[in-house]
Point group: C2
Chain length 166, copies 2
DNA sequence: TCTGCGATGTTACATTATAACGTTTGGCCA
DNA sequence: TGGCCAAACGTTATAATGTAACATCGCAGA
């Protein structure tokens, strides 16, 4: 695994960074993961993943569909949804339930849960990777005898950049 | 405010309890809150709230619409969605984004955020009211300069009852 | 009683997602 | 290499969820 040039777990989408690098690394990582797991990262799937990463904000399924259309692919919704399903299953993207939109996972190799800060001004979303938080939640659930399968945390608010501007 | 006969913040939907009491208390509390805040808890709104509380699992908007239809009201979607909007704004119900469904809030007077344990076997959902968790998340967000407006935490898993059965 | 605003009715439509079935493709093994 | 199977994709249709826009109603306060 190559050493990432942007440390995605420390930098945030709210701070300045080379997003081209993010995209490239995310795609490279995805390719590696699929290769080593015998998964087929097909053209459609790769392109969906790329479009998601290229966007600065979470992307809806029908936005992807529209891009496909612009590119001459005339696909129907199931094509996109199937690609998204594959990417989700393999932890390459997350779905933000509160937005009905998708975002690239910044740490697919960790199989962690998705937690997100979502700025309601600029619509950007930052994934959090807090093992602690996960443990706290596990503990809280455990107290009630509840076994956690997976969780989604979506925090809406204002990011530092938008705050600075206001 | 009357002393609740079920302590809703300690008991859970996963354990045995008198749900008729839950419903009655929830409706009474809602009436009080609306009264003291000059809000109109109309017939439609009250019935929507009641239907939500009567259900053992989170309820979709179109389920409510169907009940309305059974009851002779022939309402259109906006009627239900508007009632739901009102109830959400006044913290009487929460929307579970991961289910596109609604659930009664167990502590409307506290104006807290909603966190939920959702059992994927029986579909029941239990609201959590952990100030600590909220603070942790606030802190985590704060570290990135992010100001939290509101948050939704939805934990999917298996409840103690369903575990016992399996 | 009048009046104004908030609540509801009504129609139409937008957005998001999936079911069902046929066709293609890519890899595996004889 | 050729055939076969399963997985991926295409296609059509439709389900499920949610909202815009405008008309009407009704209640509370002047």
């Amino acid at each position: 695994m190559p050493i990432p040039k942007n440390d995605m777990t420390d930098s945030t989408v709210f701070t300045k960074h080379d997003h081209q690098l993010c995209i490239q690394e995310a795609l490279d990582t995805a390719k590696e993961i699929c290769k080593s797991n015998g998964l087929r990262l097909t053209d459609t799937r790769l392109r969906v993943l790329e479009l998601i990463w290229q966007s600065h904000t979470p992307v809806g399924a029908y936005e992807i569909l529209a891009k496909f259309s612009e590119e001459g692919r005339n696909s129907a919704p199931p094509t996109v949804y199937r690609a998204l399903e594959f990417l989700q299953e393999n932890n390459l993207v997350h779905r933000l339930a509160s937005l009905n939109a998708f975002i690239g996972c910044i740490a697919p190799e960790h199989g962690h849960q998705g937690s997100f800060l979502i700025c309601k001004k600029c619509s950007k979303a930052q994934e959090l990777t807090s093992r602690e938080l996960e443990k706290d939640i596990q503990a809280l659930a455990g107290k009630q005898g509840f076994t956690v399968d997976n969780m989604t945390l979506e925090v809406s608010g204002v990011c530092p950049r938008c705050k600075a501007e206001a």
